[in-house]
Amino acid sequence: MTLTEIVFLVFAVIAVGSALLSMTSGQLVHAALWLVVTLGAVAGCFVLMTAEFVAWVQVLVYVGSVVVLVIFALMLTRQPSGARSAEVTGNRWVAAVLGAAAAIGLGATMVAGFGGEQIEGRRIGTAGSIGDALFNDWVLPFEILSGVLLAALIGAIVISRSGSDR
């Protein structure tokens, strides 16, 4: 077992553990912070899988902005009275079964399809190589994506305006 593998496994354990904590934590802010840990660990995994650029984007976008946004949202939407007994609904047992089924099912699929394969890591996903690919081969989706972002932005603005003035 190489060092990469060991590090990867460590990251993996951290990711899964903090994800579990995040999804079960009773404290909302804690949950958001645990998520940061998960996303960070995943970013670490990206690095280990030669996707440097993606890893940085992950850290920047998720850890840097999304989670901040989420924490703000959590604070803004705090219930007037803290009468909540639990942060999970009655649906949790079904959810647990389905989540487990999804994880096991997908895992089984992976094992069936890709068991025994090795990642060699021959092509590093640097900013340069990704940029080349992006602007040579994936221009159209990239452009469309700008439209998506714009539309989402406008939508978010117009919706968050909703209800404020009346």
Binding site: V16, A19, V70
Partner: protein, 98 residues
């Protein structure tokens, strides 16, 4: 590194994310569950990309796009949640559904 490692990790994250979506009472936390699911997808994509040593980096590019989409989604989603909170004074899914 075995390809299975990231894939199994992705499966686990996907399952956990799904659990979060289906079980969390707070709408924001449900959104975070979705983020976890998307991250699982990203892990898959990156792993496959690395495994194929894809010349056009389809996997990583799509990962980038997914991250962006996730950001867009979360932006819109949080806007909706805020509006919801303003309209109903709650973000509890059970209450919202009532």
């Amino acid at each position: 590194m075995p390809l299975l490692y990231p894939l199994v990790l992705a499966s686990a994250l996907f399952g956990i994310g799904l659990y979060g979506v289906l079980a969390r009472r707070n709408a924001v936390m449900m959104l975070l569950g979705v983020e976890l699911m998307l991250n699982a997808v990203n892990l898959n994509l990156v792993a496959f990309d690395a495994w194929f040593a894809d010349v056009v980096h389809s996997g990583q590019v799509l990962t980038l796009f997914t991250i962006t989409l996730a950001a867009a989604e979360i932006g819109l989603g949080l806007a909706i949640i805020l509006a919801l909170f303003r309209a109903l004074r709650t973000v509890d899914v059970d209450e919202v559904g009532r």
